[in-house]
Point group: C2
Amino acid sequence: MLANKKPTAAPENPAVQDACDGLAQLKVTNGSTPRALFSADLVSEEVRQLLPTNYTIRPLNESDYAKGFLDCLAQLTVVGDVSVELFKETFEAMLQQKSNYVVVIEDLDRSQVVAAGTLVLERKFIRGCGKIGHIEDIVVSSTERGKRLGIHMIQQLKHIAREIGCYKVILNCAEKNIAFYEKCGLVVKDVQMTEYFTPSVPKTSL
Amino acid sequence: MLANKKPTAAPENPAVQDACDGLAQLKVTNGSTPRALFSADLVSEEVRQLLPTNYTIRPLNESDYAKGFLDCLAQLTVVGDVSVELFKETFEAMLQQKSNYVVVIEDLDRSQVVAAGTLVLERKFIRGCGKIGHIEDIVVSSTERGKRLGIHMIQQLKHIAREIGCYKVILNCAEKNIAFYEKCGLVVKDVQMTEYFTPSVPKTSL
């Protein structure tokens, strides 16, 4: 939900587990490369070289449902019952929208997503019709601490923001995480406020 | 730039003025209705009825370049040199992206935009592939104080967020504006952090 939260545990999420058990539906059986959410050209070579051996950092792709992407996110906040179909539908919507840069770090030995983070591009009319990047949903699996994956993820998202022409990045975090993000180069700016709505059925998809 | 800033003055912005002087290029000469950024069905009838006489609240449309939209924004932060072409290009990109809900309040007697605000839709994989709304770039012209236009704008943006199925809205504001947003129904949640980049040429539009 928020950009800062680090997992404090690795809870079992039955809904996610059920969904992952059915992942055969999404496996690429014809040998073709799964579609990525954005161009791999936006991956920083500098960040890639700092990763542990046999780890890679790359855009989210269609096959990551089968690689524990949602299990990883479930360490951040509630994921809920996300079927393969709902995952694909959301992936497709993000592909069309071209504003969600979801990045994952994969442990290649285990074929598991061990960290994730998102940069959301926002176009504005201010600042000469400038763009900003919202850093969202940063998570590192609880088993992966001490490998600096969180810092590498933030550097990668900032790299994308620069490459696509953003004049700044912003994120929201709890006070206890300020020191971490200061190490990443960010400074405290303002206060975040929020309002949660009671669930209702959307009347339009516009 | 930030969702909270209220104008403290109405500075002259020569670049904006120059651009507005050339607005004839954008005027609709064939009598057709200018395109709106999103469906007018998302305007709250309740909010509309609370406005002063001869004020309207509606989606941004193509002709608002000619109605002082950028002058209004210039009371919030730097707008810079935005030509008619750049305005149209950004408007078109937002139309394609379908995630920017820019709302304006117009004084119909003067055909002037007197307030503006934006809801940015963000799709997520968490919360059952839920959506959130970022409230951004709220501004009310300095001559329009005391008419509750700021509160009406926030209620309108929250209305859109509910209608399109967001489970929450978030915004960032300076501490001095917390009381205003509390009156609008929001509560303080976290800290906003930021990093500004030095200008550089984007290598890709991906």
